[in-house]
């Protein structure tokens, strides 16, 4: 699975997700058409409950849509078998969650190597990759720490390292700084910036406009639908701290 040139890394057509029936029917995602080119950092903003997390879950194969199509690197994924979806989540998608979702009983390095082990890599290769990634996120000295021994920002950096373990085509981040203080937020944004520099496709869901301002493109959502799609000029190449308003 790969996307090159102008081809969309991620594309949706008529994407819908509904809950309930008849009078109690709720459209969490309502007829969404989306194209995300390879290497783009896309921010999705909106108020709580507008459907942005649901959209992210659909894009990453954590949930199935009620209708519509999802294409990742030219391959339709919404009709994949459960096994295919698992392989997709393992090899093509990296998730970063607001609540980190690290395994409490595993150390940082053990958490990061887990996707590689699930992918069938040898324990040694998985460990080497995990150490490299922890070094990349600046936590080489925290490799043997349990999540409970790490700060919120450090936990999120471990989660980002885990998301990158199998070199995914796209990283999906759901409110990645929602539980972090300003300093930790800056650390995470710097990490995303460096990912962007390497050409990693990123979709970040947030309700924080300062975070959204660092993206290449900003989509606003309301009641499950896109209400605005803006290309940002600043992107992540500018002064990150200034853009994010985190420099004091």
């Amino acid at each position: 699975m790969s996307a090159t040139g102008n081809e969309s890394m991620l594309r949706t057509r008529g994407l819908r997700k509904e809950y309930g029936k008849e009078a109690s029917l709720v459209r969490a995602v309502d007829c969404v058409d989306l194209d995300v080119p390879a290497g783009e950092t896309l921010a999705v903003m909106g108020p709580s409950g507008c459907g942005k997390s649901t959209l992210l879950h659909l894009l990453g194969g954590l949930d199935r849509p009620s209708a519509g199509e999802i294409w990742l690197a030219g391959e339709r994924i919404d009709q994949m078998s459960e096994r295919g979806m698992a392989a997709l989540r393992r090899d093509a998608v990296g998730f970063v969650f607001q609540a980190f979702h690290l395994m409490d009983e595993l150390t940082a390095v053990e958490n990061v190597e887990l996707p590689s082990l699930l992918a069938g890599r040898s324990p040694r290769a998985a460990r080497r990759r995990a150490r490299d990634l922890l070094e990349q996120v600046g936590l080489a000295d925290r490799a043997r720490h349990l999540p409970s021994q790490l700060s919120g920002g450090q936990r999120q950096r471990v989660a980002i390292a885990r998301a990158l373990a199998n070199s995914p085509l796209i990283v999906l981040a759901d409110e990645p700084t929602g539980n972090l203080d300003s300093e930790a937020t800056l650390d995470v944004l710097q990490l995303f910036d460096s990912l962007h520099q390497t050409g990693q496709t990123l979709v970040i869901v947030t309700h924080d406009s300062r975070i959204a301002a660092t993206a290449d493109r900003l989509i606003s959502m309301r009641d499950g639908a896109f209400v605005d799609d803006t290309r940002l000029t600043g992107g992540t190449v500018g002064n990150l701290s200034a853009l994010a308003g985190l420099d004091g």
């Binding site: 954590l62 989540r89 979702h101």
Partner: protein, 614 residues
């Protein structure tokens, strides 16, 4: 008073909200308390049927027998002469006999069995007149069978049988207190006649059945002035001074010994039920502990709410304790009733004696013991979680902060080298070692019961050869088999109860594991594990401890059977039976836990992870 109402209301509401779990918990407690009740009420009922039969048949205080050596004359005067002095011995007030007795081979309805034929007159005897339960007393050409022997062979009055090839009419069926219901093996003189059945024929017929190989012996029934001194009488008149170690003529048997042998069956049952009740109590403890542990994960927020609205730690602990103690109390009452109702089935004396054991005594002490064990088990299981809940800070309880799982570094490192399902399973199991231990112990206890049952099955058909140590076990096995069959049934009941509780436990443990691993399973799937891998991992977390428990259950079962058998003869089941038990147990656990495991592995990742955020 106000607090009592609050506690009662909370307890009732929670029990009603969790009806399924409550029902399974009640079942676990009822099974344990019913078995304990059975074990306790069986105590002290063993001698009743023998006494009734002894009174109805004018049973002897001492029975004396004498047999000539093999190869001697068919009617040996010396054997008869050894009994004669006993008639005039001090303390003897009445006697009947000596009656001629002969070993013979009986054939009827496809059966071949050894019998001891006692030659009787047609007139009633003053001592040991067998009480007819069917038909009429002996007459020429006719014979009467001892009832338990007749039942085992399926013979009724009016049937025709052969003795040493000669045809006889069965004129009646009778009971006696002169021999133990398990047979007259103690009388045998020939290894070819292990544990023969007892029949009565005319004197002439008995004398005609003697052969050179099995000469005629004699039997004398004695009544003493002081029946309670029968054992010392037997010792005094036995060469060597102890009737239990007698090697020559005459052989004396006091009524206390017969009574003791008759009670052996119920005593064995009592022993099995007591051991089983403790095993079941252990399983019930495990059930409650696992259930409480699993529930605490759900109840921690409830605890926070209770505290937030002003509930004290004591109130929180009180609610939890009251809930499980209430379940234990209700179940203990039901278990007492069930045990009391089932007891007569096990205290039935068998066909060899008259009457029944009567109503087993369910005393206040027994009831108190059963209720005490149930409440104690329940309180022991809930005590630590209740204290822990009471001490939890309100804020962290409201945040529903789950207890930190254990970290087993070595196991985590080792599991990295295993296939994904084993990796996930081992890591899941390592998170909650106490739950794994409960799982393994539960299965070990159950498999112990199953293995004990298999050993009992393997022992059916093998007579207790006792002192003779030889014979043809496959040929004459009726008396022993009927008794072993009943013990086998008791073991089967116990094993079914153990299996039932183990099934309840397996489901509880699987549910608790799935609930506990809900977030980890969702995250694991989120980063690429398939449903099947997660399900296999959850299943492995159940099956691996089950396998360890099943293997430990084999020596456990051998020990359990040895304890229940109390040194009796035991056969050994084929090795494949034991292997099959282990494999079937593991398959059973996998099957029982499949539904919760599958549900846990298929739950929506998005929903679970969103719930964690919320």
């Amino acid at each position: 008073m106000g607090k009592l109402i609050i506690v009662s209301r909370l307890v009732v509401r929670d029990l009603r909200y969790r009806r399924g779990e409550t029902a399974m918990l009640v079942i676990a407690f009822v099974a344990a308390t019913a078995t304990l009740t059975l074990g306790l009420v069986l105590h002290g009922v063993t001698s009743h049927p023998y006494q009734q039969t002894r009174a109805a048949t004018a049973g002897p205080d001492v029975e004396a027998t004498a047999f000539p050596s093999r190869g001697g004359p068919p009617a040996d005067r010396a054997a008869l002469a050894s009994l004669t002095p006993l008639v005039r011995a001090r303390g003897v007030t009445a006697h009947t006999g000596p009656y001629p007795v002969a070993f013979a081979v009986l054939r009827a309805a496809g059966h071949t069995d050894a019998v001891l034929a006692e030659g009787r007159g047609q007139a009633p005897a003053a001592v040991d007149q067998p009480a007819l339960t069917q038909g009429s007393w002996v007459r020429p050409g006719g014979m009467v069978l001892e009832r338990s022997f007749a039942d085992a062979l399926g013979i009724r009055a009016g049937d025709r049988v052969t003795l040493n090839g000669r045809s006889f009419l069965v004129t009646g069926i009778a009971v006696t207190a002169a021999v133990p219901t398990s047979g007259v093996g103690f009388l045998e003189s020939s290894p070819q006649f292990p544990n023969p059945g007892l029949i009565w024929v005319t004197r002439t017929a008995a004398e005609s059945l003697a052969t050179l190989a099995h000469p005629l012996g004699y039997l004398l029934n004695l009544k003493l002035a002081n029946p309670s001194a029968a054992e010392s009488f037997a010792n005094i008149h036995t060469s060597g001074g102890s009737y239990r170690n007698n090697v020559g003529n005459p052989y004396l048997l006091p009524w206390q010994d017969i009574s003791q042998q008759d009670g052996q069956l119920i005593r064995s049952e009592q022993q099995i039920m007591l051991v089983a009740s403790w095993l079941l109590a252990l399983l019930a403890l495990s059930s409650v502990a696992v259930l409480v542990g699993g529930r605490m994960a759900d109840q921690i927020r409830r605890v926070g709410l209770l505290k937030a609205v002003g509930g004290t730690p004591a109130l929180v602990a009180g609610v939890l304790l009251a809930e499980y103690v209430a379940v234990a109390l209700v179940a203990a009452v039901a278990g007492l009733a069930a045990g009391r109702l089932a007891a007569p089935l096990l205290t039935s004396p068998g066909a060899g004696l008259l009457g029944t054991a009567g109503a087993p005594p369910l005393t206040l002490g027994t009831a108190g013991e059963v209720v005490g064990v149930a409440v104690g088990v329940s309180a022991a299981a809930i005590f630590i979680p209740a204290i822990r809940a009471a001490r939890t800070s309100t804020v962290s309880a409201l945040l529903d902060a789950a207890r930190q799982p254990r970290r087993r570094a070595l196991l985590i490192a080792l599991s990295a080298r295993l296939p994904v399902p084993a990796l996930l399973g081992l890591r899941l199991a390592a998170r909650r070692p106490r739950r794994v231990a409960a799982n393994a112990i539960t299965i070990a206890v159950t498999v112990s019961g199953l293995v004990a049952l298999l050993f009992a099955q393997a022992s059916v058909g093998v007579p207790d050869l006792g002192a003779t140590g030889s014979g043809d076990p496959g040929q004459f096995d009726v008396g022993f088999a009927s008794q072993t069959e009943r013990l086998d049934q008791v073991l089967l009941i116990v094993t079914v109860m153990l299996a039932m509780l183990a099934a309840v436990n397996a489901i509880f443990i699987a549910q608790a594991t799935v609930r506990d691993a809900r977030r980890n399973s969702a995250v694991t799937r989120g980063i690429g594990a398939s449903c099947r891998q997660v399900a296999a991992g959850l299943s492995a977390a159940q099956v691996l401890p089950a396998l360890a428990g099943a293997l430990a259950g084999i020596p456990g079962g051998i020990g359990l059977f040895a304890a229940a058998n109390q040194g009796g003869y035991s056969g050994t089941p084929p090795a494949w039976w034991l292997i099959a038990v282990v494999l079937l147990t593991v398959a059973g656990v996998a099957g029982l836990t499949a539904a919760p495991v599958r549900a846990g592995a298929r739950s929506s990742i998005a929903e679970v992870l969103q719930a964690e955020v919320a």
